[in-house]
């Protein structure tokens, strides 16, 4: 734990012991109100996914009791739906995209900071512009490219597009992290005869928080995207979770337990991952875009 972290903790502990002034109560009350607004609807879905159909409609805001508790919805999702395949696809696409984005953008950002020739700032600017680029508007040529390269309706098509979509913000973010690496370390490595790639390896541990931020920031838009799965990988065996749930909702409009179970299964992994990595995500979001 670093020194500022420690002083912050001590300060917070002191705040915890402060008396409950009116001001403090109002701040907490307002925040609790907004928290309920934010997670209430999510909780309704999760709670009702564990109930029988009559219980869902009889008391949508009631907790499941021994009488109304039922896992039928989940059973039907797994028998009628395509969830195992959907999950596998989303995992393959998201994980591969994150790995490719982290590796490619870290290499690029290292070089953009390290080799201060004139094109470097030009290239860095090109990546920054990409943050603003609405990549979906290139969809028609993307379809034609994927058709020509026999990549239409494959997970590879999604991975390539998502990696291209994630690289600009990832490079920009990693540049800010590499800027904080002291030059002495790199010069010392070179004195010892390290190659450039070896030097890169030596400084890599110093930008680890950046790697986590890039991974966290790449994960959400890829997992939750509906546009590209719909267009580039729509067939049943290539559907991601988001598209799978969307189609399931359309097909089983009246089977509420199954619908709610499908929605819960689609949301819970990401919410859990986000809760674990929220610090990295939030620092990535504010650092990456505030260029």
């Amino acid at each position: 734990m670093s020194a500022p972290d420690l002083t912050m903790r001590v300060a917070r502990r002191r705040q915890d012991r402060e008396p409950w002034t009116l001001e403090r109560i109002i701040v907490h009350a307002l925040l609790i109100l907004f928290v309920l607004l934010a997670i209430g609807p999510v909780l309704i879905v999760i709670i009702n996914s564990l109930k029988t159909t009559p219980a869902i409609f009889g008391g949508p805001f009631d907790l499941p009791t021994a009488k109304t508790f039922s896992l039928e919805g989940y059973k039907r999702v797994f028998t009628r739906g395509n969830f195992i395949v959907n999950y596998r696809n989303s995992l393959i696409v998201t994980v591969t995209t994150i790995v490719l984005t982290v590796v490619l953008s870290t290499l690029a950002a290292f070089a953009l900071v390290e080799y201060r020739v004139r094109v470097a700032s030009l290239l860095a600017g090109l990546f920054v512009l990409g943050i603003m680029l609405p990549i979906r508007l290139g969809t028609i040529p993307l379809i034609q490219m994927m058709l020509a390269w026999k990549l239409m309706d494959t997970l590879a098509a999604l991975i390539l597009v998502y990696t291209a979509m994630s690289i600009p913000i990832a490079v920009t973010l990693m540049v800010t992290y590499f800027r904080t690496v002291p030059t002495d370390i790199k010069e010392a490595a070179r004195m010892d005869g390290a190659s450039e790639l070896r030097t890169f390896w030596i400084v890599l541990p110093l930008v680890r928080p950046g790697l986590a931020a890039v991974a966290a920031l790449t994960m959400l838009p890829v997992w939750n995207d509906l546009w590209f799965p719909l267009i580039l990988a729509p067939s049943r065996q290539n559907q991601t979770v988001t598209l799978g749930v969307q189609q399931f909702v359309g097909q089983f409009m009246n089977d509420y337990p199954a619908l709610l179970a499908a929605l819960t299964l689609g949301a819970v992994p990401l919410v859990l991952l986000f809760t674990l990595f929220s610090r990295q995500f939030i620092s990535g979001l504010s650092k990456g875009y505030s260029k």
Binding site: V35, I39, V42, G138, V161
Partner: protein, 295 residues
């Protein structure tokens, strides 16, 4: 020291993989789309240059142009509602989170408040349709089924999902305000309210420009929530059609509309120009502001 020649070579080797993927799958398709909008590619005689014919059709064909203007206006409304509701909400929450009265619960609140932004639109759309269901939900009025309220309703669902983003931007900016400034103001007798508006707010003001421009870009790329709720011809009577769904229909086709790739390319180009124009004005203003400060 590295020689300039070696620096160039190293730079190229390290940057090339990322640059190649980015150029081939992001920049090239967009550029091709612009080129394509001046061609007729579906004809029997192969690709023929048709000048502005695709644009002419987009702007003069009775249904095509009427639907386009409708989608553009709807999209502006969609953007405006996001901006008007999301930003004050984000500011309030960021101010509460950094009020110094929370101690260790700050991180918990921050994480919980951001959870909607991690959900997929399929869930957001379904949950809210359930809650506002006129038959047994909270509102006894078909908010989504009425032309005059449908777009506002969808916009507010999207606001519910994404208010965490302006909150996080403003929260990080507020955390970056130097403590000495706040303490100095407190010593001078300024209370929490005065300190916030007189000291902190002016320092985080540049964030509002950034939030506005990002919201603009994101809402003009909007598609997912509207599609998840209302499909590709979003009703009632196209009252919730935005540029994303309009664009999707032109190149993908839908009931009552044939797929037309060239027209789709023209639509993509116009949306791109709409985004580019506003973004350029924003950066031009920022540059000027920075210059006037540095003088």
């Amino acid at each position: 020291m590295i020689s300039p020649a070696a620096a160039y070579r190293n730079l190229l080797l390290f940057v090339l993989p990322a640059l190649a993927v980015y150029l081939v799958f992001a920049v090239l398709p967009l550029a091709t789309s612009i080129v394509m909008s001046f061609f007729q590619t579906s004809g029997a005689s192969g690709d023929t240059f048709v000048g502005l014919a695709n644009y002419e059709r987009l702007f003069t064909h009775p249904t095509i142009s009427a639907r386009f203007w409708n989608a553009l206006l709807n999209n502006m409304q969609y953007f405006a509602i996001h901006l008007i509701v999301e930003v004050p909400m984000g500011l309030l929450l960021a101010a509460l989170l950094t009020s110094g009265k929370l101690a260790r619960s700050e991180g918990i609140y921050r994480t919980l408040l951001f959870i909607p932004a991690t959900l997929s639109v399929v869930i957001v759309g379904f949950v809210w349709r359930l809650i506002i269901n006129p038959l047994w939900g909270l509102v006894g009025f078909p908010l989504l089924g009425t032309e005059s309220t449908a777009l506002t309703t969808i916009s507010l669902m999207s606001v519910w999902q994404y208010f965490g983003i302006p909150m996080v931007f403003l929260y990080s900016a507020l955390l970056a305000v130097p403590n000495e400034l706040v303490e100095a103001a407190n010593i001078d007798g300024a209370g929490g309210w005065t300190t916030f508006w007189k000291i902190k707010f002016p320092l985080i003001a540049p964030q509002f420009g950034l939030i506005a421009i990002l919201t603009y870009i994101w809402t003009f790329n909007g598609f997912d929530l509207v599609f998840a709720l209302n499909g590709s011809a979003p009703g009632p009577n196209y009252s919730t059609d935005i540029l994303g769904t309009y664009f999707y229909r032109t190149f993908f086709g839908s009931s009552g509309q044939l797929a037309d790739l060239d027209l789709g390319a023209a639509v993509a180009t116009i949306i791109f120009l709409t985004v580019l124009l506003v973004t350029s004005v924003y950066f031009w203003l920022i540059q000027r502001r920075l210059k006037s400060y540095s003088v």
